[in-house]
Subunit: 411 residues, 2 copies
């Protein structure tokens, strides 16, 4: 019999307990052995819950119990989670975590610690909630040389953009609704500014390309500036504006991770991902492309992913080699954002097509002008930020303003 | 160092060789050890290929070589694949197969053989080609009690239906085009009649619910009877007709697997799966729902899945307990098709709503009548086949004919 401990009994931790108790028999069958809940670490008291006798307020009894082979870390934040997880791994106990902040900040260290002590550090729940993505990436797709990953990795911002797209709600109203429904925090910064999606694309980039990618090296732009007008005009051209977390491998071998609102063509399935759902598209040389879709957050969806990791961990007696990455050291493998090029959706104050073409090059056929004299179009050329700025400057000299622009996702 | 053998050097087998040679370095890294190609079994000669020296025409040298730890079976068909795979497993060699016919017919026996000899029998490539579905189901989602699976599991029929939906092509023309493009065989029976999709839903049902489901116990209906008129009228009501392979667990604990054309609502992502792509939606108590999408067939996509299995197999020293099912023996766990109920899309010869309602109960608001006097609608009630027949008989007594009907997918 194996025992497990749960660190942190908030939303996700209590979900792990709930789902384990509900499906204990089938979980044990899939583990191939008996599994018992040993400890729940939380500083709070939960006297009324059936498992109150399992509550501890220190990591020590968990570390000291040789029957505990697996630990679920659901505390969130870097500390004390990092210290506790490292101690568990050093004691040879495998850890499953839902904590993307921890993995994005300390993944390389914790993976090395797990390897040194022949146990495993799994984090399926840290990206895309219920969606299987981490294990498919390093196991099912392990024969592939990856070229790009693009996803909708934050449900809160997707909910907000979806309300803007489908119900013509402006950003502030949609954000307030997300907060009312409990999808957005009181302080929505991490979601709205793209930091949450950034942590997740760091994790996927690290896993797909083998070296730790830190959030600070990712160009990250949120959705606070997205205007309802652009959402509507973009839809008129056949695109949906989505917050896309993306990484691509360039011809020079470097990778370029980004988080920003992008215009996604209607025939790309990512444009059809609505509400709080997440989706991830992966490109590789064997698969062409595959997509994963599901609930990106929530109590039981996230708990499902944590428990899935724990079920595999109790079966493993050694560190698996496929799910890992290393510290990049001084290796300069992340390309500067100036190398990012894409076709652009552009909104300007003028319908003067010759002037627009002189500045932006050929523009697509689906140019639309509005009653107030504004014009939107999509460029034929892939442009980097500097080229967009230069085009805008050229137009400004003629008294034409570029009011908004978004890169178009090619996937 | 581990060595592997490839049984069958047709499309998939040669894809395994090609992708392995292309990505050998990263495959070995993910394996955590060196991996070499040892043998290729095929009755044909390939003197011009670089690996001609590895060709053998008998299974014996493969069975006799203790360095061969993993075997890729890409022959197709039940025999001699079954005999060879069983011999490999009995020799303690793990097998990865792309052969859905083999898994659907003999999965329980081969899983038991693998277990008896402490090796593994994997078949990620047998369902959905490149799409990770087998491993996510039994690993990532292992904490879930599954309630339903619904998928587009045959690319050929999806291509044909898609041509009908998007380009108003009739069935025969679309089939001929699929044959011309190499998506459909000269004898398209297995695809068009739903047998291929049936084998795949058998595999998914067996894995999700733990007992072997044989193709003979699945109600299977193909797309040969689907008329362009229904595809168009159904689209007018907001549905796409898709060949859906599905299994649901009923309240009595039995399961009900089916393969048939169904009307899929536009806001269901499955309705947006176009061309030769496949997709699978899985429902469970933890995840709510997740979907997997990608190329359901093809040389490299299928090879990617076979190699992904092989990469995990070389890392494993024991049979894993989560990916298995048993022979159902005399256990009557598959519900009769008469228990299948769904709302129905119906096309009739009359617009007489009171008469239609008297027969089918309340009908949806989006009733549409055509110029030639036909009327299509969707019932509010979920009905089984007998109830549909009874309603049709009631209308027939009034001189009204039911020209076509399709169940509506609820997912």
């Amino acid at each position: 019999m194996d025992k497990f401990a749960v660190l942190g009994c908030g939303v996700v931790g209590s979900g792990v307990v709930e789902l384990f108790l509900k499906n204990k028999a089938l979980i044990e069958k899939r583990c191939g052995k008996a599994l018992e809940m040993g400890y729940i670490l939380d500083l709070r008291d939960f006297p009324d819950r059936p498992y109150a006798d399992l509550l501890v307020k220190s990591i020590d009894p968990i570390l000291a119990d040789p029957e505990v082979t697996v630990v679920a870390e659901c505390m969130g934040g870097v500390e004390p989670a990092f210290t506790f997880v490292k101690q568990c791994l050093e004691a040879g106990k495998s850890v499953a975590t839902s904590n993307k902040e921890l993995v994005a900040a300390k993944g390389d260290i914790l993976l090395a610690t797990a390897k040194a002590h022949d146990c495993n550090f799994f984090f399926e729940a840290s990206v895309g909630g219920a969606i299987p993505i981490i294990r498919p990436l390093h196991k099912c797709l392990a024969a592939n040389d990856f070229s790009a990953i693009a996803g909708i990795l934050n449900g809160t911002t997707n909910f907000i953009l979806n309300k803007m797209i489908k119900e013509n709600m402006d950003f502030s109203t949609a954000l307030a609704l997300a907060q009312e429904k409990g999808y957005a925090e009181k302080d929505p910064t991490a979601d709205v500014e793209g930091h949450d999606a950034c942590r997740k694309i760091c994790i996927l980039s690290s896993l797909a390309f083998g070296k730790h990618v830190y959030p600070e090296s990712v160009h990250t732009q949120g959705i606070r500036e997205v205007e309802l007008k652009d959402v509507e005009l973009c839809a008129g051209l056949g695109y949906a504006i989505k917050l896309i977390a993306r990484v691509q491998r360039l011809e020079n071998g470097k990778i370029l991770p980004t988080v920003m609102p992008m215009a996604v063509e209607e025939d790309n399935l990512l444009s059809q991902v609505n509400g709080v759902y997440n989706a991830v598209m992966v490109r590789g040389d064997g698969i062409s492309k595959v997509m994963f879709y599901g609930r990106g957050a929530g109590k039981l969806p996230t708990a499902s992913a944590v428990l899935g990791d724990m079920i595999e961990e109790v079966q493993l007696s050694h560190t698996i080699p496929s799910q890992t990455w290393v510290n990049a050291g001084t290796d300069d493998f992340i390309e500067d954002f100036s190398a990012f090029t894409a076709k652009r959706y552009v909104r300007t104050t003028s319908a003067d097509v010759p002037a627009l073409t002189a500045a932006f090059g050929e523009i697509g056929e689906r140019t639309v002008s509005t009653e107030d004299g504004e014009t939107v179009f999509v460029t034929e050329n892939a442009m980097n930020a500097a080229a967009v700025d230069a085009a805008a400057a050229k137009l400004a000299a003629q008294g034409i303003q570029v009011l908004a622009q978004y890169p178009v996702l090619v996937s």
